[in-house]
């Protein structure tokens, strides 16, 4: 009937490749690469983190990882947008009591202020012994929460400083069972 055939493979040599197409390559050439671990769940997938000129340019699975063998889930594949994100807060914010807005502050200011708050609260509430005469050496009015999404060493430092140093008891994280 009146039909053309479906056609054969076009010949590559006759295809009109443009200048840009001809030069095409991945952006990974010449990038710096480091081995990372996915920051989301506890599977512990390996990630390769590519950067150029001090900027992240790509994050993908690490094929060498025996756990993930290069694969990532949607969240792991999203790790790039988690870091390179216009919603990220990149300066210290401060909200004064009863205020309805943030103020921008320097990190040094915040550290000093926080240290003073910690000291004032601790000095007021440090309990050496309870009413029954039991040794406590604790601060029960300061607490800390979080640890399962940061690094082991950071957990260790939190526990060491707040617990071993200041006597804070309520140091907790997402893990409860």
């Amino acid at each position: 009937m009146f039909r053309f055939s479906l056609g054969k493979h076009p010949k590559t040599s006759r295809e009109p490749f443009s200048v840009e197409t001809l030069a095409k390559s991945s952006r990974l050439r010449g990038a710096n690469v480091t081995q990372g671990i996915c920051p989301y769940c506890a599977v512990g997938c390996g990630q390769l983190i590519f950067s150029k000129g001090g900027e992240l340019i790509d994050i993908e699975g690490d094929p060498d990882s025996p756990i993930s063998t290069g694969h990532l889930c949607p969240k792991g594949a999203n790790a790039y947008q988690l870091s390179v994100n216009s919603h990220r807060v990149l300066e210290v914010l401060y909200r004064a009591p009863y205020s309805d807005q943030w103020e921008t502050k320097t990190m040094e200011w915040a550290l000093e202020q926080i240290a003073q708050r910690v000291k004032a609260t601790r000095d007021a509430d440090f309990t050496t012994r309870d009413e029954q005469g039991r040794l406590l050496n604790s601060v029960r009015s300061i607490g800390s929460l979080g640890g399962a999404t940061i690094d082991n060493e950071e957990n260790y430092l939190i526990k060491k400083l707040l617990g071993g140093g200041l006597g804070v008891v309520s140091i907790e994280n997402q893990a409860r069972i």
Binding site: M1, F2, R3, F4, L6, G7, K8, H9, P10, T12, S13, R14, E15, P16, F17, S18, V19, E20, T21, L22, A23, K24, S25, S26, R27, L28, R29, G30, A31, N32, V33, L48, F50, D58, I59, E60, G61, D62, P63, D64, S68, G70, H71, L72, C73, P74, K75, G76, A77, N78, Y80, Q81
Partner: protein, 329 residues
């Protein structure tokens, strides 16, 4: 042992490929335009006119590659969608809850080149109604949630490629269909031609876009982002012949394991459509997955259309002549 990804870090950026003499000459003419140097409106116009005609030595054909997507192991995680957006730096399509199972990106588009479909197939029996012994079998058959990661089919005889008037759409050295955004003028012929609704035009740049089969990654010996990310290896990437072989074995295995419905979609040419370089293992009719049961290449119609146009034209001329002669006193 460093992975291919890590080896790439050591490579310098690619340089421009060799070009023909005419191209070199023309290229010199529009040098500021080509290299994004400052230039006025006239060089801009010249550049736009001349650029599409700059051609170089086409690359040597490589082993044809493609995707084989085994929907029976898809867990609908959408890693392919995000990995694609990440690698290609595509924007989101907006936040619209569809209520269509877990599918909220709804379709392939200029900004969504992988799309996971969800089909809930569950019996309507309520457990409050005690199941009779004979309904149980059919009920268990009906309890399934199909998931399928869809993308451009990279048809061997691709209607979009056939329809493109500018040469923007090429079949590249891996026999994948690639839209050259630098050539595309946004005419949208390809959109109408594609029987799968894969291509749309981006409002951002005005060009048509779709899955490139990660052409840039393939050039550097990397597998496409979606196939690499896919946690359960539902998306396979590789030489197309090997994929077909692997897929046929998988179908056999599924038949042995009590899934007689399993079959491949697009691995071989049909009467009205060519084989595809992205084919799928499905367990229900194509239309269940939103795919045409029998895709049809519009090119097939074109012979008729041409004949009819020519015949119509001739007839019109004949009528005109007759009229002219008859009316002549």
């Amino acid at each position: 042992m460093a992975s291919r990804e890590q080896e790439l870090s050591a490579l310098p950026q690619a340089s421009d490929p060799p070009r023909g003499r005419l191209s070199v000459l023309l290229g010199r003419l529009i040098r500021p335009y080509l290299h994004d140097e400052p230039h006025g409106p006239l060089p801009e116009l010249l550049g736009r006119l001349i650029y599409p005609f700059l051609h170089g030595e086409p690359p040597k054909p490589q082993q044809p590659t493609g995707f084989y997507t085994d929907t029976t192991v898809c867990i609908g995680c959408k890693a392919c969608e995000v990995a694609c957006k990440q690698w290609n730096q595509l924007p989101s399509d907006g936040f619209n809850w569809s209520g269509n199972s877990y599918d909220n990106t709804n379709e392939l588009s200029a900004t969504t080149w992988r799309h996971v479909k969800f089909i809930e197939q569950f019996s309507h029996e309520s457990p409050s109604v005690p199941a009779s012994p004979d309904t149980e079998e059919s009920e268990s058959l009906l309890n399934r949630w199909l998931m399928m990661s869809d993308n451009c089919k990279h048809c061997v005889a691709a209607p979009c490629h056939q329809a493109c008037p500018t040469g923007a759409i090429i079949q590249n050295e891996f026999q994948n269909i690639y839209i050259q955004a630098d050539i595309c003028n946004g005419c949208s012929c390809c959109i109408a031609a594609c029987p799968f609704g894969v291509i749309t035009r981006s409002e951002l740049g005005g060009h048509s876009h779709k899955c490139t089969l990660c052409y840039d990654r393939q050039r550097d010996g990397l597998e496409p982002a979606c196939a690499k990310a896919c946690p359960t290896q539902s998306i396979h990437f590789g030489p197309i012949d090997e994929l077909r072989e692997q897929a046929r074995k998988r179908v056999e295995q599924l038949h042995e394991r009590g899934v007689p419905q399993a079959y491949l979609y697009g691995d071989v040419p049909g009467e009205t459509y060519s084989e595809m370089h992205s084919f799928y293992l499905l367990v229900d009719r194509p239309s269940v997955y939103g795919l045409p049961d029998a895709p049809f290449n519009p090119w097939l119609h074109m012979m008729g259309d041409y004949v009819r146009s020519v015949a119509g034209g001739l007839a019109a001329i004949a009528v005109l002549l007759v009229v002219v002669f008859l009316l002549k006193p």
